[in-house]
């Protein structure tokens, strides 16, 4: 098929169209990757990135269009067909069995004995600089290590076309650097790499070519040298985006004080170890750390949803240690929880009912009766000012997409008059436009003298928004710095538990 003068594309997807009930997810998409190329795939949530890659992995079947691998037309009946042709995906949420060892996880799905696998894993990990012990249990590995296991697993099954789905979202900066060198090494051996991301700077840094999707269509393919982050963002969104700027201002009196707090996780293991923090009015305290190091428990303790075993939580000079969640709310604490969708909402409630969750007592009822008209007006206001896409305020929250549910939680908690805002991963699942909007709202809140506890795993967000940065690792605060004096490298090392970075 391919003439010798033409360069053979490793992967070619032509005219791919895919629709789900009510949604055209992909429309006439062309996408190709050469051997040895790192191809960035950029787009907002819902732009079709994942759908396109799921088609390439054989998880979905396209309605129309063809896929060519090494110039030959292929049909995937199942993911197995794709695997046999060398397509492998490193998922955002790792697909490993925690109680198995690394080698056992890799042996799973092939017939090789575990000892042979161990040998091979050692070889691969040395060759590609993917440091991991094949005998250690996956449950004991950090997220970065689990990712390395996924990559080795793919290499073991002779994957030739790698798809990385937002691989840097769980990594600290140092790990990102080493991941990038692995990607380059893989590409240099002629493999094709698809790098799905929404972080523009990373795409610009590592990719040979970048394809931007918007609303299920390819809006452009370009080389990093010929473009800027600003242009890419505009392509993703379809409009210019102006970045939020922090306005310097004075912080006021102390709103939250946490003294020597310890707490345990749901399974009884220690989650917070002797944590002391304080936040003043108008200040954003950013908690940097790899997810799962106690951030969730920290936020819950400060919201009254988790008891601390020792220590004190003081809000506005009042000791609220182990008080009920409603006590915290009455004292002006708002909370955007880590799992906003599951914890911060009741999915079987309507959008209107959800928009007053946590406020059903104070503002929206009198003599035990809910003020329905005011609830409706308020819900309409939240939906329109935060651009929540919903069929209406009376429809069940269940029909909204994840990003819109997140917007609803953020809208409700930010619209509420409060003294302390706990924002755990408030930008997760939001598209570019909503992200900028919420970032602005967080900064606006500080101008309105709210103290903000901001938890994120994205160092860019932490550095852009915080006045003070605290690093958490295994439930311990490793260091607290004023933003101006913080150093990314040092923060990154502390996130990995390495003390005395500089």
């Amino acid at each position: 098929m391919a003439k010798s003068t033409e360069k053979v594309q490793k992967v070619q997807m032509k005219n791919v169209t895919k629709s789900f009930p009510g949604v055209l997810a992909l429309s006439q998409v062309h996408f190709s990757v050469e051997g040895g190329e790192i191809r960035g795939l950029l787009g907002e949530n819902g732009a079709g990135k994942t759908t396109l890659m799921n088609i390439l992995c054989g998880l979905y079947r396209s309605d129309e269009g063809e896929i060519y691998i090494d110039g030959k037309k292929v049909e995937f009946g199942s993911p197995l067909d794709a695997i046999n042709l060398g397509v492998g995906m490193v998922h955002q949420h790792f697909m490993l069995i925690p109680v198995f060892s690394v080698a056992e996880n890799i042996a799973l799905g092939c017939a090789d004995p575990v000892t042979a696998v161990q040998e091979k894993v050692r070889e691969l990990s040395e060759k590609y600089g993917l440091k991991v012990d094949p005998r250690s249990r996956v449950s004991q590995l950090a997220l970065g290590e689990r990712q390395r296991v996924e990559i080795i697993k793919a290499l073991y099954t002779k994957v030739d076309i790698f798809i990385f789905d937002e691989p840097t979202s769980v990594l600290i900066p140092q790990e990102v650097e080493s991941l990038f060198s692995v990607l380059k090494l893989l590409a240099s051996e002629g493999r094709s790499i698809v790098f799905i991301t929404h972080k523009l700077n990373e795409a610009l840094q590592i990719c040979d070519n970048i394809t931007v999707l918007r609303g299920g269509k390819v809006v452009g393919s370009l080389k990093p040298q010929q473009t800027t982050a600003k242009e890419l963002a505009a392509m993703m969104v379809g409009a210019e985006i102006s970045a939020v700027q922090k306005v310097p201002h004075e912080a006021g009196e102390e709103v939250l004080e946490i003294q020597n707090v310890t707490a345990v996780r749901d399974d009884g293991l220690p989650a917070l170890k002797d944590v002391s923090l304080s936040i003043r009015r108008g200040e954003i305290l950013g908690i940097a750390g790899v997810a799962g190091n106690g951030q969730r428990e920290l936020s819950e303790v400060v919201a009254g949803l988790r008891k601390c075993t020792t220590g004190k939580v003081i809000v506005k000079k009042r000791d609220l240690t182990n008080a009920s969640p409603s006590k915290f709310r009455q004292n002006g604490v708002s909370f955007i929880p880590e799992e906003g969708i599951n914890l911060g909402l009741i999915l079987d409630f309507t959008v209107a009912e959800n928009s007053i969750l946590g406020k059903q007592d104070e503002a929206f009822s009198r003599l035990g009766l809910i003020k329905s008209d005011e609830v409706r007006r308020y819900a309409e206001q939240l939906v329109s000012s935060y651009d929540v896409a919903t069929p209406g305020i009376d429809s069940s929250a269940r029909v909204l997409s994840g990003g819109n549910l997140q917007k609803l939680v953020v809208a409700r908690e930010l619209t509420r008059k409060s003294d302390l805002l706990i924002a755990a991963y408030p930008l997760r699942g939001l598209d570019v436009r909503a992200t900028e909007f919420v970032r602005r709202k967080l900064l606006d809140a500080t101008m309105g003298n709210v103290a903000v506890l901001f938890i994120s795993e994205d160092l860019d967000d932490i550095f852009d928004l915080s006045d003070t940065i605290a690093v958490i690792y295994e439930g311990k605060i490793m260091g607290i710095f004023p933003q101006a004096k913080a150093n990314r490298n040092e923060v990154g090392l502390l996130m990995a538990g390495v003390e005395q970075g500089g």
Partner: protein, 340 residues
């Protein structure tokens, strides 16, 4: 609505197959049932009277269900309601009707509510499974009424085991001359509307539904989950108790041992059929009133044996329990679209 109709039709079809297979004419049987339940004003009134305890039982069940609490103790709570009514009706006989009747309703409300709260308390404080405790509390109630009917309240004048009657001043007014249609039926109807509004429009109703739909989200929103569960269990039993009061004050004026036995379970079926919607329960419990009253006429009108009638009723109740299942399937079909 469609799901309920579908479930009922399903029941009729399956039952018809059984009837025909036994050499009976299903059409004759059904028309006998319909005529039996509705052909005269008296019979229609009987159907509505029968529906009344089902309605309050269903409403009580539904209210607790909204808080994620399975009150299987409806049957026992009805019994407690009748006991409270009888005690009030033989104790405060010096009061005029206008005070006596509301007082007795209050007794039934509080008595059955407190009875139900035992299970609610165990659930909220010690995480004891309420399905088991409420179910077992039924048997306790049956034995309590057994004791009362055989010993302290037994009517010495009558050979049968039944209690002495309540004072006639405690009897509920009759709504239509020539029938036994008593005012208790209106209490059921009114309660349905009140509970509908209660759940939709009050803060407590909001909290109850929040706890039922998502306890974590409710806690996040400042709802005291265990207190809400206890309140819901109390209100649930209390509403059921009101149904028991109506049976004594309106229909029988005394207690025999198995006066309301199984009415509670039929109430639960009625709640299921209506998918726990209080307004839907008006229709579904009336349907069960029709089913139970009408089916008695099948023996006369269509020569069914009592056994065949019971089989028929059993099939119908089973079919209604399919209602939530049908609703689930329909929801899946029209559910959220797969994104990405």
């Amino acid at each position: 609505m469609y799901t309920a109709i579908l479930a009922v039709l399903l029941g009729f079809v399956i039952a018809a197959i059984f009837l025909e297979a036994s050499g009976l004419n299903a059409f004759d049987a059904y028309s006998a049932m319909f005529l039996g339940a509705f052909s005269t004003p008296y019979r229609t009134a009987e159907t509505l009277i029968r529906a009344s305890p089902f309605m309050l039982g269903a409403l009580g069940f539904a209210l607790a269900f909204k808080a994620g609490y399975w009150n299987i103790g409806v049957d026992g709570q009805l019994v407690i309601g009748t006991i409270a009514a009888l005690w009030g009706g033989i104790t405060f006989t010096y009061l005029p009707s206008i005070l006596l009747i509301p007082l007795i309703y209050l007794l039934g409300f509080l008595g059955a509510g407190a009875w139900s709260l035992i299970s609610g308390f165990l659930k909220a404080k010690f995480h004891v499974n309420e399905i088991l405790t409420t179910l077992m509390m039924n048997y306790v109630a049956y034995w309590v009424v057994h004791y009362l009917v055989y010993f302290p309240w037994k009517d010495p004048e009558v050979f049968l085991h039944q209690t002495i009657p309540i004072a006639s001043s405690a009897n509920l007014p009759i709504l239509a001359a020539g029938t036994r249609l008593h005012a208790g039926v209106l209490v059921g109807l009114g309660s349905a509307f009140i509970i509908y509004i209660f759940l939709k429009r009050t803060r407590l109703g909001y909290s109850i539904r929040a706890v039922g739909f998502g306890p974590d989200g409710a806690r996040y929103g400042g709802v005291n989950v265990s207190r809400t569960v206890m309140i819901a269990s109390f209100l649930s039993g209390a509403i059921v108790g009101v149904g028991g009061v109506g049976e004594v004050l309106g229909a029988y004026h005394l207690i025999i041992e198995n006066l309301t036995y199984n009415f509670g379970f039929i109430g639960i079926a009625a709640a299921m059929l209506a998918l726990n919607n209080p307004l839907g329960i008006i229709l579904s419990s009336t349907f069960f009133g029709f089913l139970i009253t009408g089916s008695l006429y099948m023996t006369r009108g269509a020569a069914l044996t009592i056994g065949a009638v019971q089989l028929f009723v059993g099939i119908m109740i089973l079919a209604t329990l399919v209602s939530p299942l049908i609703a689930k399937i329909r929801k899946k079909k029209t559910g959220p679209v797969d994104r990405q």
